[in-house]
Amino acid sequence: MTALLTLKDVCAGYGGSVVLDGLSLQVNEGEVVCLLGANGAGKTTATRVICGLVKPTAGDLTFAGKSLLRVPSYDRVNEGICLSPEGRQVFPDMTVRENLLLGAFCKRAKADRAKTLDEVLSVFPRLAERALQKAGLMSGGEQQMLAIGRALMGKPRLLMLDEPSLGLAPKLVMDVYEAVSKTAKLGISILIVEQNAEVALAAADRGYVLADGHIAASGSAAELRGSKLVQEAFLGASQAKRNSTRDRRRT
């Protein structure tokens, strides 16, 4: 497998504060990679650096063999990097359909946007039902679907999903991850940032754990699932404790 995206010793921050401190990671062609980490560990900043919304202060960033450092964010979309941002960020006063079509604004996606639109709407039938509703009036979960759909509209080579399961009903989380697997089968690489480590690791081939701005652990999804660090921090190893409080309450 060849590397599609490589981050090497990337540092970045806001104002004076350092958020990413020597982050290195790699996403190969057709691979699903998940990035885990506590709140504030820098996961969202990592996606912003990859999109070009935050400039790295050090390190290198290559995509499909080319350095991205001098490529502005709007051109990176055209290279095939699409992001579904944390907290949705849909255009509230535009309709659902307009939001989706905007996702296919770049040259690379424009030509077949009608076809992509059909595909996206088949993944999220609710968006088809509400094509003409203002995006800002959609429910929280519906806006999340829209954000993911909009990213898919860009015909990505690398799809980045920041907290895709946020606000989605359990059944829909399954639907989204099913769509993720399907998308990956088409040869598209996917980078998932998730708090919901269980589902993310189930869908991913490999994973990284981000702590204090750099990689603290990495490995195949199965390895990570077995590791003590991941179990304690992300998979709820405090299960026993919780069950006991619950039982106490029931009696």
């Binding site: 921050g13 806001y14 104002g15 004076g16 504060s17 958020v19 506590a38 709140n39 504030g40 560990a41 820098g42 900043t45 935050v54 702590a211 204090d212 304690e232 921090a233 992300f234």
Partner: protein
């Protein structure tokens, strides 16, 4: 308040403020025509810019401060000419009219915000100008009216009252900035809908702040008529009044307490300097003045106060400016 670079201890702020206030009073009493003129212009500009800044701080961007100013001027002038009021008495109807029109505007505009609110205020000021032209019996129409000169207390008293008024109004805005109302006003500016769920009644605060700001701006307009003694609709509702009232706070630091003070002194000083150096070439001083304003806004997007202290009332890209939080990892 927000994290702030401590550039001066508290007493130094007090000393500086007292010094500025003292300088204003001394300039008013000096008897020098130039010093008095500068003090008067700083004082009136300060009053309307504090007023504009307070309203902006509650999310109400006004493009119609000349409405308050002009109404204040007419209220003062007419109370003298028609009712025989004295100088001091004439300022009272000015403030009452300003407060009333502010409160009414707050009520009428209801929940309108942002650009729509701004346009309403602009329409109000233009509308008032037209009304003033159409009521020649009261306002003298386009010919204007002259203030009854026999009531004039002399320029020194007028300047002194303007200066003291400005000092008091800055003091009021300082009191406000330390009160609970500050929280309600900022919350409304930021997110009016969410602020309601904390028990904040938007209309109430809106009426209160606009009445206060209207009274302030009309006071400035009311006292201004005592300087020139002449008023016509064009002068009363001049657009430049509105523009000046916002340039000063933006220059000094919008939404901040010292912003209007710094900005007013700076704009008047810039105007004077360019006039003195290039005054003999027609238009050149204005060109330089405008150019300097643009440069300052470009170099200091948060105003002078923001540049010096690192405190800015406005955050354009919060996620790029603020400190990125790092929570302690899961324990």
């Amino acid at each position: 308040m927000a994290v702030r670079k401590q550039i001066m201890p508290g007493w130094a702020w007090w000393a500086l403020s007292a010094g500025l206030a003292g300088a204003m009073v001394i300039a008013s009493l000096s008897g020098s025509a130039i010093a008095g003129d500068v003090a008067f212009r700083i004082a009136t500009l300060l009053i309307i810019s504090v007023s504009w800044n307070l309203m902006a701080g509650a999310g109400l961007i006004s493009l119609g401060h000349s409405a308050f100013w002009g109404l204040g001027s007419y209220a003062a002038a007419l109370s003298v000419n028609k009712l025989g009021f004295s100088f001091a008495m004439s300022l009272i109807p000015a403030m009452i009219v300003g407060a009333l029109i502010g409160a009414c505007l707050a009520g009428i505009t209801g929940r309108i915000r942002g650009i729509y609110f701004a346009i309403c205020t602009l329409a109000l000021s233009e509308g008032l100008r037209v009304v003033a032209v159409m009521l020649p019996d009261v306002t003298g129409g386009a010919n204007g009216l002259y203030l009854d000169a026999s009531k004039h207390p002399g320029p020194m008293i007028v300047t002194l009252v303007a200066s003291i008024g400005a000092i008091l109004i800055v003091f009021v805005s300082w009191l406000l900035s330390r009160s609970r109302y500050q929280f309600a006003l900022r919350a409304m500016r930021d997110n009016e809908s969410a602020s309601q769920m904390l028990g904040i009644e938007p209309l109430r605060y809106r009426v209160a702040i606009m009445a206060l700001c209207g009274a302030m701006a009309s006071f400035a307009g009311g006292i201004n008529i005592w300087r020139g003694g002449y008023l016509d609709p064009g002068v009363a509702f001049e657009l430049i009044t509105t523009i000046n009232s916002q340039i000063a706070p933006i220059l000094g630091g919008i939404y901040t307490l010292p912003g209007p003070v710094i900005g007013s002194i700076l704009t008047i000083a810039l105007g004077e300097i360019t006039r003195l150096t290039l005054g003999n070439i027609i238009g050149a001083s204005l060109l330089l003045y405008g150019g300097l304003l643009i440069v300052i806004v470009l170099v200091l997007p948060n105003g002078v106060y923001g540049a010096v202290t690192g405190v800015s009332g406005i955050r354009r890209f919060p996620f790029l400016r603020g400190k990125q939080p790092r929570s302690e990892a899961a324990s």
